[in-house]
C-alpha cells in the first residue's frame, strides 16, 4: 500500500481536541520514573572527578589510594576508555569530552571516575585521586579568543572553510558564509545604514532534572542503560561505539524527561557509567549534581555579532550583513553556521551576506538549545530592524511586513521559499488587540520575529491491536511535552476510533527500529506521520480479517469510521464490523493484528513566529518586569492545541529568562562563578505574566494532516522583543544580553 505524506485536507474528529495527557496522573503524583528513579540490585554509586582548571596538561593521575579504599569497586581514567573512534573526529571529541585524555579544556572537564558502594565512599575516593596538572593560559571570552595572540585551546586547529588553508593554528575552527547579491552596491543605494555589535552571554537550558543514568554491563558483553535522554537510540549507538560494544547488545531505555531543550541530545557521562559498570561488574548509578550540570553539560554559545543593514527612505532594505562569532567550547561545532543561516531568514533581501565563525574557548562544549543559535542571531538582527523603523518613523510591524519573506523569496541561506507563515504572523500581530492596548508609566512595547528550520528524520512506529480492540501505539521518539497524547490522537483519527481506545508508549531500543534524536521540533511531526502510516497498514490487515470473517474478497471491503464495510448491493445484509469485533476474532483469522511503519520524515517545513512584549522598567533599580506577552506562531495543524500553546509559552518563558537574567559568569581564573540556581537565575512564576498565544494553522503540504513542528521557534523572538520594548520604554537600546538590572541601570544612568 503506497503511503502518501501529502496533506489530505480532511476534517477531524480527534485531532484538534484537548484530552488529558496519559502521563499526567503519574507525573503529578510522583509515580513517573525519571532518570534517577530507577534502581538495580547491587548497584554502585558513580561519581566523577572534574578539573578545577580552565586549561591544563594532565601530567599524572595517581589513583592508587582511591583503589585501596574499602568500598571502592572501580576507578576509571581515560586509560580505561581507549580511542576506538577510528579517525572520526566528531566521535573523538565526544570521547574526550566524557573523559579528558591529555589536557583538560575547561573548568569541570572530567578527569577520573569512581564506583563505590555508597555516595560517601565515592566522594571520599575522589578526594584520594591525585592529579598533577601543568596549568596553561586560558581564554573564555569569544572576542578575546579570536585575537591573534590569544591562548590556543587546540594547537592543531587550523581554520576550515578558508582558502588558502592557514599555516598557523588559531581558535577559529571554521568559517562559513551564506548570501547572495552585491552587498556593497546595496549599501551604496541605502539612505540610512545602521551597524551595531551585539553580545549574548552563555546560557544553560536549565532543565530541572539533572543528567542521570543506571548502567549495567555483564561479563558476556551485553549491557543495559536506563537514562534520561532526548534520544536513546543515538545514545545507544554512540555509547556502543565508544566502548567497543555491539549495538544490538546494548539495550537503552529512556526515562521520563524533566526537560532537555537540546541539552540531552549529547552524551555526557553515560559512557563513563557503562565503563565503570564493566570494570566493577556491578550496575552503576550516576547522577550529576547541579554544579556538574552547569560546569560540564550543555550551555549554549556565548556570542558576539555585528549586524549592518541599509535601507531606502521608503522602508525598503537594500543590503544586510552579519558577522557572527559563536563560542563552541573546546571542540568544533556548527553553532555559528546555524546563526549565519537563520539571521536574516525572515526577510526578502536582494543583497545579503552572513558569515559565521566557530570559536574555540575554554568553556564546556556548547550544546544545542531550542532552535540553536537562532535567538542570538535574531536578537542582533531584530534590534537593528527595529532601530531602522524608529529612524524612519515607520510602524515596526508595517516595516517588517514591507520587507518580509514570502512564497518565492530567495532565502538568505539559499533556497527559494515555498508557502511560509511570516506574513500571516505579522498580519495577526498588526490586528492583535495587544498592539493597541494602553501602556502604563515606565512601560514600553516591543515586537520581533523569529525563524527556525524544523526537520524530521528516521522514525519507526508499531501499532498492536489487543484482543479487546484497544490499541497500543509504540514510538521511539521521547515525550517532551505531551507527545504521547498528540500521537495517540493522530492514530485514533486515522483508525476512526476514540482517543481513549489508544495508548501510546515509548519503546526501548531493543523493541523498535531506530529512531533519530527527538530534536528539531520533530517529535510530533515525524512520529505522527509514521503513526498514521502504521495505522493505514493496520487498516489493511483489519480489512483482510473482515473479508475472512465474511468470506468475501478483500477488494470488496472498505474502512470507514472505525468499521469494515462490505461494498456492493450483494452484501446489503452484512452489518459493518467494528475494530473491536475484528480484534476479538483475530486468533482464528490469522493471529495478532498489527501495523508497522519505518520512514524518513523529510518535509518538515520552516517555521516563523511574531512576538509582542510589554515591559516595565524600574528606573531606580533597573529591574524589569514583563507585564504582557503574546506569541503568534504557525503550527500547520495543532494536533493537541493545549500542548501547542504549552510549547509556545515554554519557549517564550525560556527566552524571557535568557533576555533578562541568565548568564554564565567566569572569573579571571577561568572558573565558573555561578553554577547553581541561586546565582544563575531562571524565571520563576512571579517573574512571568500569563503568556497569551495565537495559533495560526497554515497546513504543511508534506504531512497528511498538515502538521508542522512547534517546539523551538518560540524561543527565538523574545530576546529582541524585550530589547525593543526596553528601547521604547526609556529610549536606550541595550545590545548586551542578559539585560539584567545592573546593565539596565548602567544604561539608564548613561542616558541621564
Amino acid at each position: 500500500m503506497p503511503l502518501d505524506a501529502s496533506y489530505t485536507g480532511q476534517s477531524f474528529k480527534s485531532v484538534g481536541t484537548r484530552p488529558l495527557r496519559p502521563d499526567g496522573i503519574d507525573k503529578v503524583t510522583g509515580r513517573a520514573k525519571y532518570g534517577a528513579d530507577f534502581n538495580m540490585p547491587g548497584q554502585l554509586v558513580g561519581k566523577i572527578l572534574r578539573s578545577p582548571h580552565a586549561h591544563a596538561k594532565i601530567k599524572k593521575i595517581d589513583t592508587s589510594k582511591a583503589e585501596k579504599l574499602a568500598g571502592v569497586k572501580a576507578v576509571l581514567t581515560a586509560a580505561d576508555l581507549p580511542d576506538l573512534t577510528e579517525g572520526d573526529s566528531g566521535m573523538f571529541d565526544m570521547l574526550d569530552n566524557c573523559m579528558a585524555r591529555t589536557k583538560v579544556l575547561y573548568d569541570g572537564h572530567a578527569v577520573a571516575a569512581v564506583a563505590a558502594v555508597d555516595a560517601a565512599t565515592a566522594k571520599q575516593a575522589l578526594k584520594l585521586i591525585k592529579v598533577e596538572y601543568e596549568i596553561l593560559p586560558h581564554v573564555t571570552d569569544v572576542d578575546e579568543a579570536v585575537k591573534p595572540k590569544a591562548p590556543l585551546v587546540n594547537s592543531k586547529c587550523f581554520t576550515e572553510g578558508v582558502e588558502p588553508k592557514p599555516s598557523k593554528p588559531s581558535n577559529i575552527a571554521k568559517v562559513t558564509e551564506f548570501g547572495h547579491g552585491d552587498v556593497d552596491a546595496g549599501f551604496k543605494d541605502a539612505d540610512i545604514v545602521i551597524e551595531r555589535n551585539f553580545k549574548t552571554e552563555q546560557s544553560h537550558q536549565g532543565y530541572i532534572e539533572p543528567h542521570a543514568c543506571v548502567a549495567s554491563v555483564s561479563p558476556d558483553g551485553t549491557g543495559e542503560l536506563w537514562v534520561c535522554t532526548q534520544g536513546h537510540f543515538i545514545y545507544r549507538n554512540h555509547c556502543a561505539q565508544l566502548l567497543g560494544m555491539d549495538i544490538s547488545k546494548l539495550r537503552v531505555t529512556s526515562s521520563e524527561i524533566g526537560g532537555g531543550f537540546g541539552g540531552k541530545t549529547h552524551i555526557w557521562a553515560e559512557p563513563v557509567a557503562l565503563a565503570l559498570s564493566r570494570k566493577a561488574n556491578r550496575p552503576v548509578k550516576l547522577v550529576m549534581t547541579r554544579d556538574e550540570v552547569f560546569r560540564a553539560s550543555g550551555p549554549t554559545s556565548a556570542t558576539s555579532i555585528d549586524v549592518k543593514i541599509g535601507v531606502k527612505k521608503d522602508g525598503t532594505i537594500t543590503a544586510a550583513t552579519s558577522e557572527l562569532r559563536f563560542a563552541s567550547g573546546p571542540y568544533l561545532s556548527i553553532w555559528a553556521e546555524l546563526g549565519a543561516m537563520t539571521s536574516f531568514a525572515c526577510y526578502d533581501l536582494k543583497n545579503v551576506r552572513t558569515r559565521g565563525y566557530e570559536v574555540l574557548v575554554n568553556r564546556p562544549k556548547s550544546a544545542a538549545y531550542r532552535a540553536p543559535s537562532a535567538p542570538a542571531a535574531a536578537f542582533a538582527v531584530e534590534s537593528v530592524v527595529d532601530e531602522i523603523a524608529q529612524k524612519l518613523g515607520m510602524d515596526p510591524v508595517a516595516f517588517r511586513i514591507k520587507n518580509a519573506a514570502k512564497q518565492g523569496t530567495k532565502s538568505s541561506y539559499g533556497p527559494v521559499y515555498g508557502p511560509i507563515g511570516i506574513g500571516p504572523t505579522l498580519e495577526a500581530a498588526k490586528n492583535h488587540p495587544h498592539m493597541s492596548a494602553p501602556l502604563g508609566p515606565n512601560q514600553g512595547r516591543g515586537m520581533a520575529c523569529g525563524f527556525w528550520f524544523n526537520f524530521g528524520g528516521q522514525t519507526c512506529t508499531d501499532i498492536n491491536v489487543g484482543i479487546d480492540g484497544t490499541v497500543t501505539l509504540t514510538v521511539g521518539t521521547i515525550d517532551v511535552g505531551g507527545a504521547r497524547a498528540s500521537l495517540a490522537l493522530c492514530v485514533a483519527e486515522e483508525l476512526g476510533i476514540p482517543y481513549s481506545q489508544v495508548k501510546a508508549v515509548v519503546a526501548d531500543t531493543g523493541t523498535l527500529g531506530h529512531n533519530d534524536m527527538t530534536d528539531g521540533s520533530r517529535g510530533t511531526f515525524s512520529s505522527s506521520m509514521a503513526g498514521i502510516f502504521a495505522a493505514r497498514n493496520t487498516i489493511q490487515v483489519l480489512k483482510e480479517r473482515a473479508a475472512k470473517m465474511w468470506e468475501i474478497p478483500v477488494a470488496d471491503v472498505t474502512w470507514e469510521a472505525g468499521h469494515a464495510k462490505a461494498v456492493g448491493s450483494k452484501y446489503g445484509n452484512l452489518a459493518p464490523l467494528s475494530l473491536k469485533e475484528i480484534a476479538a476474532a483475530a486468533p482464528n483469522t490469522g493471529g495478532p493484528v498489527a501495523g508497522h511503519s519505518e520512514i524518513v520524515a523529510d518535509g518538515a517545513g520552516v517555521s516563523f513566529a511574531t512576538h509582542i512584549c510589554d515591559v516595565e522598567v524600574d528606573p531606580e533599580t533597573g529591574r524589569s518586569q514583563i507585564v504582557r506577552y503574546t506569541v503568534i506562531q504557525d503550527a500547520g495543524k495543532a494536533v493537541h492545541p493545549a500542548y501547542v500553546e504549552g510549547q509556545f509559552q515554554g519557549g517564550a518563558a525560556q527566552g524571557i529568562g535568557w533576555a533578562l537574567n541568565e548568564e554564565y559568569i567566569y572569573g579571571k581564573d577561568g572558573r565558573l562563578q555561578n553554577p547553581g540556581f541561586l546565582d544563575y537565575r531562571i524565571p520563576v512564576c512571579s517573574d512571568l505574566p500569563m503568556i497569551d498565544t495565537q495559533i495560526l494553522e497554515i497546513p504543511n503540504p508534506n504531512h497528511p494532516y498538515g502538521v508542522r513542528g512547534v517546539g523551538e521557534t518560540s524561543i527565538v523572538p523574545p530576546l529582541a522583543a524585550i530589547a525593543n520594548a526596553m528601547s521604547n520604554a526609556f529610549g536606550v537600546r541595550l545590545t548586551h544580553v542578559p539585560m539584567s538590572p545592573p546593565r539596565v541601570l548602567k544604561a539608564l544612568e548613561a542616558k541621564a
Binding site: E163, I334, Y413, F455, G520, V600, D602, A604
Partner: protein, 81 residues
C-alpha cells in the same frame, strides 16, 4: 547536468566556486560524484549534508530524484534542540 549551489564552507573544496555542475539523477548519485570530482568535500559529506530541492529540504532521503531544472542547494545537516 544540474547546477548545485554550495554554501560557504564547501566552496574551498571546489576551488572557490559557489556553483558546480553535476550530472546526477538522485541525491545518492550527486554525493558520489561530488566526492569523486571534489575529494575535499568528503569530510563535509561524512559530517552530514542536506539537499534542498526546490525549497524542500532532504536530510536522509538519498533516493530522492533531482528533477530537471530544479533549484538545488547543499546545506549543512543541522541539529536541533
Amino acid at each position: 547536468m544540474a547546477d548545485i549551489h554550495l554554501w560557504g564552507a564547501l566552496r574551498p573544496a571546489a576551488g572557490g566556486a559557489s556553483v558546480v555542475s553535476i550530472d546526477a539523477k538522485t541525491i545518492r548519485e550527486l554525493f558520489r560524484k561530488l566526492e569523486e570530482q571534489y575529494p575535499g568535500m568528503a569530510p563535509h559529506l561524512a559530517r552530514g549534508v542536506a539537499v534542498s530541492i526546490d525549497g524542500k529540504i532532504y536530510r536522509d532521503t538519498w533516493d530522492q530524484e533531482l528533477t530537471e531544472g530544479a533549484e538545488i542547494y547543499l546545506l549543512p545537516r543541522i541539529p536541533g534542540g
